[in-house]
């Protein structure tokens, strides 16, 4: 079980109050009509599956119902950082730093 810090409630809560909502920082193409099928398909369906640092969107579903980001190590399950939507992560993997 994770013990997750909610940046809106400002305290740690049990994992069962939260839902994972997939990879974070996925930018929607500004003009979907101008996308190629490949670009749109990658935006819609293709997600990173890194071994190591991963940025994920979570929602405090049973609590304040707000979304926020978690940086998690997919190998150790360690939560490296929690930050609000709109903020930048300070813990990033070298491999995805260029993104």
């Amino acid at each position: 079980m994770f013990h997750i810090y909610c940046p809106h409630c400002c305290e740690y809560r049990e994992e069962e109050e939260f839902h994972a909502a997939g990879q974070s920082h996925i930018a929607r193409p500004l003009d979907p009509d101008a996308c190629t099928d490949k670009e749109w398909g990658e935006f819609m369906y293709f997600r990173a599956n890194p071994r190591g640092i991963h940025h994920e969107l979570w929602v405090h579903a049973a609590g304040c119902r707000k979304y926020f980001n978690i940086t998690r190590d997919t190998q150790t399950y360690e939560i490296k950082e929690v930050y609000k939507v709109g903020e930048k992560p300070t813990v990033v993997a070298n491999a995805i730093q260029s993104k």
Binding site: H8, C9, C10, E11, R13, E14, E16, E17, A62, G63, C64, R65, K66
Partner: protein
Amino acid sequence: MSDVTVEAMEGKLVTNQLPTGAIVGESPLHHSDLASIAKKGPQQGGVHFHERKLKGLLTLRCAPSAEQLSLIESLLGVALPMEPLTSVTTDAVSVRWMSPDEWLIIVAGEKAFELETRFQEKLIGHYALVNISGGTTIFDVSGSHVVDMLKKSTPVDLHPSEFPVGKVVSTVFAKSGATICRLADDKFELVVRRSFADYLWLWIQDASREYGLVVKA
């Protein structure tokens, strides 16, 4: 529509949701006949249960400006609790922090329409006020073993150092959900969904069995 009062004001619509005339408002636990259980049932026990029924509950959503904050304070009579997980409780009104832009306002059932109307008249700017009285009910649980009963139901840390009087959390409660507020050392308020009320009443009966459950009218 003859049972409800509808008043249109500057394009805004406020509906008095209280039944009138021949229609009698019934709480979600009406069928349990808690009044009879309170009379005939056990009078001693570690957990006390009381349904604070047919209250007026309003959800306020806004990211308040300074002007809105002072208007809301004048409308409610108390300031909005802005710190996470805090609440304000007076005889007339209770306000619970639900999320950074959401508050739960609890007043007497017959006051909800009046308060809603005054909000629509006075409060300016971007906000939403929704009457959720019909979808919720309130359980007051207290007693010397109330924390033991709650520990079976929710993963939240209830130790007084972590959960002082006045703190409010929305959390999972017995596979359902509840907004829990500590009213006193051994007294808690659970705001639950109407559709889960019967299930949670059964759950609380089961979880309280070893301590003895006393129903208060």
